[in-house]
């Protein structure tokens, strides 16, 4: 997908081998009813490989493979997609990135260190339930009280919301957006499991009914949090994109192989022009998805002025066309593609779920127009 240097190749290969042995698809199906969907020991081994430290600055205890941490993380996410792998990759990395950049020394020494080692899991509570479910809509209220803040509202869905020890909560205060690092065992915080399409991941609804937090739980200064949340959103979407690329790649390769081997009316499916042309369209979609994902990751890494534009263009395009590619793979498989036994649904679940979270394709298209209109661009 991306151009990789030799360190990145080696790193990705290690991740691939680890996922190959830890999470064959049969194992994923065994874990369908498991509370976490993954084994904590495997997550800690992944953390040792570097999965949690790539987008955390060196002086906060992190470290990238290539100095392009977002790109490195995208390679892990790509492999996660390619294996439909479980584990709190998104939550732990987003929270670690936030603490590594804007967290206090205390937050870095405690919670961040635990996230980096894989000992604890992180979750980012950004999304809210309808009618506040549009990208960027935050209604959960943070009211200033003596010595701290009180949180009132609901976050949903929150990936790994039940497993997480450290929850980064985005809230609205009188001074605009603020973010808090909330311990999972805080009084008046209720966490309830949600049903989910993706059998490898777990989501929760978090109700904050007057959760009281000390000022020291703030992450980042007022006034800069709007920008921080934007950056974290772009990071989260980039992880999603890379995962979708991996899952699309698996489905495409598997379906190409199927088309060569499956005979109907005395000839392989791959010899019918109607079907060849659909593969051509899918191939174009796959390569376009790779291309924009690589560009988006690069833009987030370098924090370029067109960062959000490229990320939203990616989310629009891959989010709109990724699920379609998967559905076309199902169609080309016929009935077998709709069975639990076949592995295709694991990847369909992954792509579909990613498409809908952290902004739907339509919402990212809208975000693009907002960016253009605010710049007064006319050409």
């Amino acid at each position: 997908m991306f151009q990789r240097n030799s360190e990145q190749q080696l790193f990705e290969e290690t991740t691939k081998k680890f996922l190959d042995t830890s999470y064959p698809t049969a194992k994923l199906k065994e874990l369908v009813d498991d509370a976490s969907g993954y084994e904590p020991a495997f997550w800690q081994q992944g953390a040792e490989l570097g999965w949690t430290s790539l987008v955390v600055p060196d002086d906060a205890g992190g470290g990238s493979i290539s100095t392009q941490g977002v790109k490195d993380l995208s390679l892990v996410a790509y492999q996660f997609g390619l294996h439909a792998a479980p584990g709190p990759l998104m939550g732990s990395n987003v929270v670690a990135a936030a603490l590594g950049r804007w967290g206090s020394k205390q937050q870095q020494l405690g919670p961040l260190a635990e996230l980096l080692s894989g000992q604890a899991v992180g979750a980012w509570a950004l999304a809210e339930a309808p009618p506040h479910d549009r990208l960027g809509d935050v209604a959960l209220l943070a009211t200033e009280i003596e010595g701290g803040f009180r949180l009132q509202g609901t976050k949903s869905p929150v990936e790994a919301g039940l497993d997480a020890a450290h929850i980064l909560v985005t809230a609205r205060s009188e001074a605009g957006l603020r973010q808090f690092l909330v311990p999972a065992d805080s009084p008046y915080l209720t966490r309830s499991p949600l049903h989910g399409l993706d059998t490898t991941r777990r989501f929760a609804r978090l109700d904050f009914d007057g959760v009281q937090l000390p000022t020291s739980s703030l992450v980042g200064a007022p006034g800069e949090t709007e920008g921080t949340v934007n950056w974290l959103t772009d990071l989260a979407v980039t992880i999603q994109l890379a995962e979708m690329c991996g899952a699309m790649r698996w489905a495409f390769d598997t379906t190409v192989e199927w088309a060569f081997n499956r005979y109907s009316f005395g000839r392989p499916l791959a010899s019918y022009q109607e079907i060849k042309h659909r593969f051509a369209d899918m191939k174009m979609c796959l390569e376009a998805s790779f291309a924009i994902t690589a560009q988006a990751a690069d833009a987030v890494d370098r924090d370029t002025p067109d960062r959000s534009e490229l990320v939203s263009a990616g989310k629009f395009y891959v989010g709109r066309n990724g699920p379609e590619l998967l559905q076309d793979c199902v169609q080309l498989h016929g009935g077998i593609g709709l069975t639990f036994d076949h592995d295709l649904h694991l990847f369909l679940r992954r792509v579909t779920t990613n498409a809908a979270l952290f902004g739907t394709p339509s919402q990212h298209a809208t975000r693009l127009t907002d960016i253009l209109a605010s710049r007064g661009v006319t050409t």
Binding site: Q295, L368, T379
Partner: protein, 426 residues
């Protein structure tokens, strides 16, 4: 050929180009591209072409024409990295858009690849100087996508060939100078084995040019009728009856127009082919604002979609070019980019039409730019037809990139004269 001089670094080249452009090339007034072809009078068209020749000459005199063309043939002998750097620097300046396609690619690309040393010496420098503009005499009225089924025939007469037949879809043949022409030289062998390629002067006795009127009023496209046109054998490109070897590379170079050709000068981020001279859906933001539509989520989604497609197209072009350059993909993958620009231009045209609504089908003088969105919609499929249809691109992707079985053909082993053909239709 030995090449023992040290190549200028891209950084130094870039700095030199930046300085030179600022001093020598005019800044673009508007988008830098021609407006509506249908809105051009012949005089305006000729003035535009003359301006284009002048701009190409300036590049040549400044040492920036043919950046990847060997110095022996009037070029700079540099690398694609230099060309890419120049494409970045030339943003915001006028440039000779009409020279790029089809003169530099595919025509000059084919001459450089298959021409003899003498042919390259004679034809490449005038191209780089802006003196000659070339056209493709490739499609035929009875042919469509099946270009190897050419009926235009050349019969040898001593040191000359005599050509008869008809070619079609030649852009601007009435103002161009030379044509690259694929003809049949042997009817008694299967179709791919009886073709030959010639270079010919367009304006000569025996070539009658008929201008075709398109549904948008454009008269850019031409059909040529060739009657006993005499071409010296020295203007043959490649071997007799082996023109298909030239033809396949010719069509490959044609597909690189959408991105990836080392010979095309074009401001970075802008495809070498004008997909929508009206500027795409993003240019409709002021219109949407005027109409109070910028609060309408549906409108914002459509504009955002068009912008996303444009950004993804740029990323895809770069990605595929890189994959081909590093040999991670066959050069047939250029068909992926071609398919992208066909289908995304179609979508863009539909989005624009939908955004403008009733103004696109009935408009007043002052709303002419909105009416043009309707006209563009009528011409929408051009982006999926011109330069090789998207169906052919899908064949190339599935067969040449993914290795799927080729389509069955009935004409492969039959002498061409016995192959069934369409009835003459024009």
């Amino acid at each position: 050929m030995t090449d023992d001089h040290v190549i200028e670094s891209v950084e130094s080249f870039t700095a030199r180009a930046r300085l030179w452009l600022a001093e020598n090339m005019p800044r673009t007034q508007d988008s830098g591209r021609r407006a509506q072809p249908s809105g051009h009078s012949d005089e305006e068209e000729l003035a535009h072409i003359s301006r284009n020749r002048d701009l190409q000459r300036r590049l040549f005199d400044g040492g920036f024409a043919g950046i990847c063309v060997p110095a022996d043939y009037g070029g700079q002998g540099l690398t694609t990295a230099h060309q890419e750097a120049f494409n970045r620097e030339i943003r915001g300046y006028e440039y000779p858009a009409e020279t790029q396609v089809p003169t530099l690619t595919p025509c000059m690309s084919v001459i450089l690849e298959f021409g003899t040393h003498e042919q390259k010496k004679r034809h490449v420098p005038p191209i780089l100087k802006g003196e000659t503009l070339w056209m493709q005499f490739l499609s035929e009225p009875g042919g469509g996508s099946d270009v190897a089924g050419a009926l235009t025939t050349a019969v040898r007469d001593g040191e000359e060939w005599v050509l008869n037949g008809s070619k079609i879809w030649t852009t601007g043949a009435w103002w161009a100078d030379w044509g690259l022409c694929l003809v049949r030289t042997n009817w008694d062998v299967p179709k791919h084995r009886g073709l030959t390629v010639f270079m010919l002067e367009i304006h000569q006795p025996g070539i009658e040019i008929h201008r075709i009127e398109m549904l948008n009023g454009s008269r850019e496209f031409c059909q040529e009728f060739l009657t006993d046109v005499r071409v010296p054998d020295s203007q043959r490109i490649g071997q007799i009856d082996e023109g298909w070897a030239v033809g396949t590379r010719w069509m490959y170079h044609e597909r690189t127009i959408s991105g990836g050709s080392p010979y095309v000068t074009s401001p970075a981020g802008r495809p070498a082919v004008a997909l929508d001279p009206t500027g795409g859906a993003v240019a409709l933001i002021p219109f949407a604002r005027r109409q109070g539509l910028l609060d309408d989520t549906r409108v914002k989604e459509l504009i955002g979609e068009a912008h996303a497609l444009s950004l993804v197209g740029t990323a895809l072009t770069r990605h595929i070019a890189e994959e081909i350059r590093t040999e991670s993909m066959t050069n047939q993958a250029a068909a992926i980019t071609r398919l992208w620009f066909g289908s995304s231009a179609v979508r863009n045209s539909t989005i624009c039409f939908e955004l403008v609504g009733a103004n696109a089908v009935a408009w007043s003088d002052e709303d002419n730019d909105l009416g043009q969105r309707g006209v563009r919609f009528l011409m929408r499929q051009a982006s999926c037809i011109a330069g090789g249809t998207t169906e052919m691109a899908r064949n190339a992707i599935s067969e040449r990139v993914l290795g799927m079985p080729r389509e069955r053909t009935v004409d492969k082993d039959t002498p061409f004269r016995d192959v069934p053909r369409s009835a003459p239709n024009r």
